[in-house]
Symmetry: C2
Subunit: 201 residues, 2 copies
């Protein structure tokens, strides 16, 4: 039965839809959602506008699919890389910052797609904003889970702080405020985690 409802979870796109989503992802991330027209997306994908509406129904739905696709790739990369660090260790928590730095090198030169997309929507209940906020809460819960696995007493509070450092890193990469922000974030996280572990004993 798990195979039966899999197509609902992971949509299987037609070739045209695949190219549309790839083109939209590039354009939405680079220029912003409002700044890119559906004609531009269709042309970049090498399909007609009708195909776009047949597959996705609206520009809004395509934007949500863009956010979901980016997030799915990030989650897959993160979980795969995290598996290489010893479970339940502080090193595994710190590894998130190394992984983020590597990911940012090729994927996040303009910051976080979720933050940027949220900024373009006036309403927090807009489907695009809802998806963006969902992704952020998921990431904070990843930190909280890692902290609990590492046996930290105040896992939730430490997770909040780690999330601040992580978000700051994403933004700083996008703005170019200073170089290698995730290294600074890792350094700070190590100090915080050292203190948190120390207070346990």
């Amino acid at each position: 039965m798990s195979v039966e409802n899999l197509p609902e979870m992971i949509p299987h796109y037609t070739p045209g839809a695949e190219r549309l989503l790839a083109a939209a992802s590039d354009l939405f991330y680079r220029d912003g959602i409002h700044a890119v027209g559906v004609d531009t997306i269709a042309a970049a994908a090498g399909v007609t506008k009708k195909t776009l509406y047949d597959r996705f129904g609206s520009k809004e739905a395509l934007a949500v699919a863009y956010l979901r696709g980016r997030d799915a790739r990030w989650r897959e990369y993160l979980e795969q890389e995290l598996a290489q660090a010893p479970a339940g260790s502080v090193e595994r928590i710190l590894a998130v910052f190394d992984i983020s730095a590597r990911w940012a090198l090729t994927n996040s030169d303009k910051g976080c797609s979720a933050i940027n997309a949220r900024a373009e929507m006036d309403d927090a209940t807009h489907p695009v904003a809802v998806e963006a906020i969902r992704q952020k809460k998921w990431m904070r819960d990843v930190f909280a889970g890692l902290c609990r696995e590492a046996g930290l007493a105040d896992a939730d509070r430490v997770a909040d702080i780690l999330m601040l450092l992580y978000e700051g890193g994403l933004v700083t990469v996008g703005m170019g405020t200073f170089a290698d922000p995730f290294a600074a974030g890792r350094e700070a996280a190590a100090a915080i985690l050292g203190a948190a572990r120390g207070s346990d004993h």
Copy 2:
């Protein structure tokens, strides 16, 4: 002579320009720059579109004025509040997070205008993006200056970390990932600054 060139630094707007900038600030921040048309701005300000172009020349210039105006208000508020904390103290550094939390209550419910504006521009050399990046570097330098005044040896590195916590707080307020992020940021900053001061002696 300082009075002579003051008008160049602080532009004196006509009444119409004043209302235009106020209306544009609200709309640009709420909906995003690309999502708001000049007709909407002019109507909200109660002036005609011609007045907008007579005063600002272009929508792009109005957007830059919007970012500059917001930043000027933030800087004024920050410097005024900072003056109430003892100079050269760690408390003064931590006060930035309290001040940010208060400011965010009434001004930053959708995150940082500079980050959000930058996200809408494809090119880092676009005037709007240039202004946004300038503001971020200024804020990092504020942290560095406060760290140096407090006598920290590794002021620049600590300033980077403080900037991450600050940026993370702004983003988290905008996304609503968790409550009261600047309190968590202050807590983390206190731990980092305690360690930095400890390593000095």
